[in-house]
Amino acid sequence: MSASRDIVESGPARIGTRAAPARPRFAWLNSSKGLGLVLIMPALLLVIAFFLAPVILTGVFAFTNMSTATGITGGAYQISPGALRVLTDRYGMGELAERLGQPTYVVDEQGLAALAEMEIDQDIIDGLKRRLGETFSSRRDFERVIRDLPTRPNTRTVKRISDAFSRSLANARFASAGALMSAAEAIDPELTDDEKAALREATYTGWSWTTDNFRRLITSPQTMRILFNTIFFVAATLLIFNTGFAMLLAIATHYIPDRPAGIFRIIWFLPRISPAVIYVLLWKWLAWDTGFLSAFLDNFGIRPRNWMLDSAFNAWVFVILINGFVGASMGMLIFASAIKAIPQSLFHAASVDGAYRWQQIRHIILPHLKWPILFVTCYQTLSLLTSIEQTLLSTDGGPGGATEIWSLAIYHTALNNYAGNLQYGYGAAMALVLVVIGIVLSLLYLRLFNYRALIIKPRIEH
């Protein structure tokens, strides 16, 4: 930045008052650093919005107990049955819970005064006065009494009247702890400080900070299983397809004429360019017990079955095939273009020296592909770690959780709950683990392949 400041200071003298401020303000653009910053800005903003922000949010969520029930934006204080249970079990304040949580309607002076303030018809107030001291344990019963008064109020008014006599906090919701305390004190003026603190704690519906997610993750028997599944899935798909098979395709197409090679590559591209849903649907048609495979094998006396979910082994074969066919095309493309970039003279020279194809591959092609292999391995590890859609659509982690991989488990935890209570916090903790694994692996790869040696330092702008 010092360079740009110099330019500003040594810039030409002002010509006109209007034009003058414009020049110094944008002069820093004259420096390549400043201009570079501007040019990179759109990308930077996207990175912040779509990468950094989600990662930071995941990090924050991971240390909370957020769920649908707690909400994300914040909580309130509610005397719910769950809160009352906590009050009873954790704090041993069963009696207080009973007093606050049991719906109670008492016809008392306080309520009658409130009615007068609300400008309720005097006849109604007089009618209720006659029942002074009576207690009702359900709103319905009490409202029945109100409606039986000689002047029957409309429903809206009945609700307002019964509210005025409510002497419990059953399911009542307060925006702040202060409001809760004053309401609780109205019912029981002799609340001790301990009771207040317990009440505040037990009734809070929002999320709170906790490291419990990680404790739960470490002690859960599921975790190891899912972790092992994930490692197996990534390693197998990566080795067999994303690099192994991709390399095979690239080398094979290198040695066949251009036109058929092009067609061949396009065919292998189909899985990547077809929409995931349709692509997986085709696999399902192939594999299901009413599908192509079963129908075909039926001719040979093999009983139709759901080949995809028949056993854990089958499920893995399909999951790896489905993901691998998508992944192979990218490696193929990168390896093929890298092979193309190898000077032809090397191959000619090798042929003259009598090298076999295998020797060409071993001594010419593979050494030149170090950087592409690093890139593909790195990129595909991360993309497989987070890949979810093909597995979700095909086995959904089945049979019996055999193909439940980490990303899918995150989805099942954070965004899928039959009883409407999505576990955002626990899901985020799982996601954070994935982020950490991803970063550690990237660093490891960079070190392993000696990244520094692979890049040439720019010869200008030191």
Binding site: Q78, I79, T155, Q222, T290, G400, G401, N421
Partner: protein, 446 residues
Amino acid sequence: MTKHLLKSTVAAVMLVSSAGLASTEEVKISVWSGGTSPNDIYRVDAIDIAADLLEREAAVRGEDLQITVEKKPTNTWDDFKQAVTLAAEAGNAPNILVTGHEDIAPWAQAGLIVPIEDYVNLDAWPINDIYENLLEISSYGGVLYGLPQDAEARPFFFWKDYMRQIGYLDADIDALPDKVQSGEYTLANVLEDAKKMVDQGLVQQGYGFYPRPNNGPDYWQFYKSFGGVMEEDGKLVLDKAAMQKFYQFFVDAVNAGVTRKNHIGTPNDQWWAEVASGKAGIWHGGTWHYARYVNQEGLKDFFGSVAFSLIPAGDGGEPNTLTHPLVYLLTSGHDERATAIAADLVKIASEPRINALHAVKSAHLGITKQESNIDIYADDRWTREATERLLPYANAMPNNADFGTYWNAMWSGLEASWTGQKTPEQAVNDLEAELKNGLGEAIVIR
């Protein structure tokens, strides 16, 4: 006379013009419903009908009320619950939700819904005619949150032809529902009969007992059949012995070759088509599946082909069935007037005559006592028989904010033992560890 005429004309003109001047109140009410297939469309259409009635009521009172109902039925549950929770978090929740009663607890805690009892007269028609137990299921902590939208039960089905071929006489088949109810015919008999069907080649291997192919409330019935309890005094309960017997039952079914090991994950469409065409011997489902079998799957003679009963008892439990009423819920964050109108719409939509349309079209059971006096409901053999045979024995899942965690864990345990990934004992131990870990003091383990 002329003077009088003039006077009355002026009066009439003034009245008309003042009526014209009375401002029109326009209200938009949105209603989203989950698990709603074309057969269940009255879940949202009932609100439309109610809107028409409410507009007329307002007109009679001299008010001009215009209600626009925006309906959004969703066929599945996952998508619906995601949509609702995320929309609510963003402040875009619809006015009315139609969802399972088990959502009341977490959504009430989240402040996403408001109690309907704050808006409607619980003693007014038709709320005073709704079955008391359904109202209880729609309540949380003694406060009525929603109105039940439908009721159902989940029966066991037997393909009559195969029952005959393994030795049942017609009279035996007719007596079967009673035998199930008395506990004489148990889940052990189910496995025996299913095995006979497979052994005699009546059905293919794995098609003797052909249960629901994916997660659902149905599986709690089997836990119950073996004596399991879901909740006691507001606390969730894991009965390890019952859970293990329940897992073991499905493992036994797989080992006996009457249920497919890879059954879970079979698409619903395939399942419905197969059971409705006699590919399976014994299965279980929901009362509303009747509509599917008869309307979409072409099972013309249902009563001639299929017998139905409660879920038979297992060792240590009782025959039972599960009702999983959907409820109309009101969401928070709208202005009071709109929520009050939404509450009125829900109330009117619960009118027996309107609810009967849904009950019969979708083969659900009615929510009000008077529905039995409405011809379209009473004339329908299925709703009548199913109501009598099943509804009195129906349990419901608890309204408990932590139930979802329990449910997910229960299902993964079942899946793991069913597919042979774990033994039932191992699965129950893992389930226990998982629940202790995740729910702590909120669950009693015994």
